[in-house]
Each structure stands twice: as C-alpha cells, then as structure tokens.
Amino acid sequence: MWPDFLDSESVPLRSNVAGCRVLADAHHWTAAADALREAGASLLSLWGSDDRDVDRCFRIRAAYLLPDRVLVIEHAMPAERAVYPSLVPGFPVADRMQRAVHDLLGIRADGGDTRPWLRHGGWPEKVFPLRRDVSSAQTYPIVSVPYPFVPVIGEGVHEVAVGPVHAGVIEPGRFHISVVGEKALRLEERLGYTHKGVAKRFESFAQRDGHRLAARVSGDSTVAFGWAYCAALESITATTLSPRAVALRALALERERIANHLGDLGAIGNDAGFGFGLTQFSSLKEQLLRHNSEVFGQRYLFDFVVPGGVACDLSVRAIPTLLDKIAMLERAVHELRSIYANHEGLQDRFLGAGRLTPDQAQTLGAIGLAARASGIARDLRVDQPWTPYDNLAPVLATRTEGDVAARVQLRFDETLESLRLCRQLLDTLPQGELCAEPPMAPAGQLGLGLIEGWRGPVMVALETGPEGRIRRCHPHDPSWQNWPLIEVALLGNIVPDFPLINKSFNLSYSGHDG
C-alpha cells in the first residue's frame, strides 16, 4: 500500500529528472522502503552526512528509482544515537552501502552485515573520516586486519582466491571462489581497494571545479559522471543550457557508450578464446578514440562536460567526417555481429554462461545494462528522458535470458542505437552558446544529477556550502548494485568461465570504491 505521507510530506527535488524529497522518522523510513519495494522501485543509492554542526544530527538518505521519478527519503538521527533501520530486508543491495556508510561516518544500520567494507585497516576503527571534525589532511598508518571471509566447508571443497592484483591489466579486487570439482559453489567478493576518499576530497573543491573530481570517479564513465555532477549543480542554480551544449553532451555520452561497448565486445570474445573479435573491436574502438581526439581534442572526453555547458565546440567541417565514420562503424558492427552469431564455438561459451534470471535480477536490485539483459526494461533515457533525450526518442533494448550471450546481444543493440542517436544529433545540431556561467548556489541546497551511463544510472548528489564551496557530494556508480549479481551468476558455472562472466558485466572497481 502506498502510504499518504509519501505524497503529503514530499517537497520537490532539484534534479534533471522528476523527483521529490520526503523527510521521514524511523517508522516512516521503514514504511517508505516497504511501499517502494511493493511499487517495484529500485534502490538507487544510500549515503549519510554529518550535520552535527547544523542540528546535532547525522542524516541518512536513500534515493529510490521509480519508473517515472526519483524519491529521496531523508532520516535524521540524533548524534548520541546514530542508528537507522536497515533497508536490507526489502533491498538486499543496501547491505554493502550500509557497511560503507558506517566505515566513513560511524552511523550504523540496525541489521545486516557488520564487517567493514571500505576500511581495510588504513584508518583506525574508531575514526570516521567523513565526519566534519576529522581533518582532511589527517593520515594514518596501516594496521592490516584479516578479513573474515565466510568459510565454506565440506567434503571436496577447496578455495580459489585471486586478487587484489590480477593477472591482466585490470583494476584491483579480491575474489574467493569455493569450488567442488570444477564448479563454483560460492563466490565472495571483497572490494574497496581503490577507495580514494572521493567524498571527503569533494569538500575541498569549489562548486565550479567539482566536475573535475566527479569525472574521475570512474574514468570509463567520465562523461556520465561529469554530466551528473553538472546536472546537480545546474538544478540547484536553475541554470538553463543552450540547446547546442546539451546536444554536444549527449553526443559525448553516446560516444562514451559506443567506445565502452566496442571494447567489451572485443574483450568478451577474447575471454572465450576468439582473438579475432578482440583485434577487430579494439581497432574499431581505437578509430573512434582517434576521431574523438581530432574533433574534441580528447580521446576519452575527460572534462568535456563543464558546469553550464561544454568545454569545446564541434566545427561544421568535422560533421561530414563524423557521419562517415558512424556509417563505417555501423557496417562493421553489423558484419561482426553476424560473425559472432554464426560462430558455434563462441556461442557455445556464451549461451547459458553466467545466467542471472529475471527473478534473481529483480530480487537483487539489478540496474542498468545487466538488468536489461535479465528482462528489467529500464533505461533512464527512455523512461525519464532529460533534455535532449526527450527529443531523441531512444529505443530501449532488452533481453530476458540473462546469460553472457544476452549481455553481448544487448551491447550490439545498444551500440547500433547509440550510433543512430549520434547521427540524429549531428543531423539536427542546433546553434547556441557553448557555456553559460552558472550563478553561485546558495548554501544548504541539495541537487541530484542522474544520467544513464553505459553501465547504468550514474548519480551525483550535491549539497552546497557557503561561498561556492561543496558541503557534501556523493557520487554513485551502478557497479554498487551489480557487483553482488556476479556472486549469484557464477554459481554452478565452471571456474574457468569466471573471467568471461566477470567481463560480460564489466563493472567498475574505482566507481564502486569511491
């Protein structure tokens, strides 16, 4: 049942998508979670703040994603009793987020796993670095504490442990796989190795510079994070962008999606022993990046999105070449798709591997690309299109099989659709200024930017401080939701398929670790 207070006590949320905020006591916090679970919402993010300097309270916020809007539920706790009701019963995906909130702020959920998550011994147990009375310059010696992995015992069970440093050029993370014979009985992940204290670091940035840090939360999603940060700031300051600036942002976001999908399609093929796929797709990706460099002066478009607009223009002369390259990419992707589809050896490895059923995806709170491959037909560009997606009408791609093959097919679909969107954007590129100067935001405002990056929804929640400072900024990568999916998708698969399954999700470590 939908409780009345969710409507009667809500205030509008400043965001690039429709949304509202609701202040809730402990009872309402839980009631809201129950109602939202029933309404089919996903938990988008969970973050806490130290507001003891304002009202002697800690605050916890949960952002939920409904098909047509975002709901932020806020709950304040007195400093003496910093405990809030756990969201894990309705949203299992909240577990690691709750552990992270505790590691950084010392406010605890009344249920769920209590092991540290981001704190690996790099700072003392009783120090909570995101609290305002902890100096940002303070550092601590490492006191390594063994992490209590869940033991798996029984006849014939042995353990394959890998990481944090892996055999290839990969980000660091630790995986414990309990194995019987060749099959994986259980996988437990341990992440947090690349935790860089991004949230604390944001507090020393000016609002007008924060996009540079946001763009480096997860480098492969730099446009999505940069845009989400700017969208949050622009919502607070009610800055209107020129049609040209938003079109160029969308062009950059779609090119980021294409670059990553091309890279993944090659790497997934390679992990199934098809080196031809890697050679072909990595060449296509390199061509796209070199073209980015020619046209925008940047291969990966770091800092292309800036508050108020974009950093550089697209010359009229570049458009015909861009369109030609898009047509070339379309032809190549169609051809390679047919080769992938007709290659029996490849399909034998893809089909049925790492399956995540639609039921599992729903229960676990999957989001973004991985969710769409398991039948959850959600894409912010389609469901809640912000400008300019409201005029682009992107077509949603979805699959129901939930295996490696489905995630591959989805990438093919989305790559072709993004190429179409790029063409449409270039054909109708409006005139207008590149960048408007956003006014300084008043202190104490909350804004939320939500952008469908190539992995899924990327969120930045920004709270302003006085004199153009940032009081609190929480970036959230969809990898938070999707890392636990791999623990389920691997079950019953053979250990040698782990790299293939992992690559088919291709989640961000840095984006998750923060």
């Binding site: 050029v169 480098g219 730099t222 770091f302």
Partner: protein, 172 residues
C-alpha cells in the same frame, strides 16, 4: 569461417609500420629504440594502485593492432616474477599500499618502475588524504613518470623509451 577470413582480408593490417629507418614516424622511432635495447623482450607487470581506470583504458589500447606493442617485443606478464618493468597507475590508495609494495618486492633485479598518469606522477586530483598516500614514489622507487590524465598510448610508449635510455643511471 569464410566471413571471418573475408573480413581479415578486407581490413588488412592496421599496425603502424614496424621499425624501419626510412619510414620514421614518432611511433616507429619509439618502437625501433625499444627493439634495440630490449631485443623484443621487455616484460611488463601492471599494477593499478588506486586509479580511476582511465589510465587502464589507455594501457589496454597499447595492445590494439595500431600500436603493435607485441610486435615491438613488449609483453604484459601475469606475474611480477616474470617482469622487468612495473607499470603503476593511480594515486596509491592506502588499501593498495601493501599489495603494491609486495608486487614490487616480488620482482627480480634489475627492475624499473614507470608511474603512469598524473595521479601516479604527483597525486592528481585526489591529492593526499586518509585514503590516499599520493604519488607512487611515496611507496616504491620510481624511475620515470608519464604525465597526462589519462596519458595517450603514445605518451606511455614515450615513457618506456625514456626508461630504456636511462637504464644505466643509478636510481635517485
């Protein structure tokens, strides 16, 4: 099978030409120099000590057909025990400090360290805080750095050349 062969034939070789004194672009000059020093046998171990993964994307790009890294005899290896050179990215996160040090210590002598990216070189946007130690040189000796955020594949290759030129010099 026919369609695979057909595409291979049509795409042809994309690798920028292998070293030859006549066709000297910067890339070929770099490749030739690497070849001269290492004789097609430079083994690199990569460690991400806390990067945002932007640098990893460009290190990956080195392996695409254009840069033809393996053609120049440079390989990424799976173990520090097999490596001549450690390629490190990121500001060093405290959670990776031990792993980075252990990887370095596991490498046989002589060994070199190349810090890749602004974060590895000087801390980048992340600076130093409770979770970040700062540049790679705070934790292990560094022989050379490659600036850029992220540095282009060509810039990383230049860094490799710089190291080859200064191999004999004692570490600071």
């Amino acid at each position: 099978m026919f369609d695979i062969l057909s595409r291979i034939r049509r795409v042809g070789s994309l690798s920028e030409p292998l070293p030859s004194p006549d066709t000297d672009t910067e890339l070929t000059a770099i490749q030739r120099e690497l070849h001269a020093v290492f004789g097609r046998a430079l083994c690199i171990r990569h460690v991400d000590a806390g990067s945002c993964n932007g640098c990893e994307l460009e290190i990956h790009a080195l392996s695409n057909p254009y840069y033809n890294l393996e053609g120049a005899g440079i390989r990424f290896v799976a173990s520090p025990r097999h490596a001549d050179l450690l390629l490190v990215t990121g500001p060093v996160s405290v959670n990776m400090e031990d792993a980075l040090r252990q990887t370095y210590e596991a490498m046989p002598e002589p060994k070199w360290v190349l810090a890749v990216g602004d974060c590895g070189a000087c801390g980048g946007v992340f600076n130093t805080n409770y979770a970040v130690r700062g540049p790679i040189s705070e934790v292990i000796p560094v022989d050379a750095v490659v600036n850029g955020c992220p540095p282009s594949p060509l810039a990383i290759l230049r860094g490799l050349v710089y190291i080859t030129r200064h191999l004999d010099r004692p570490r600071p």
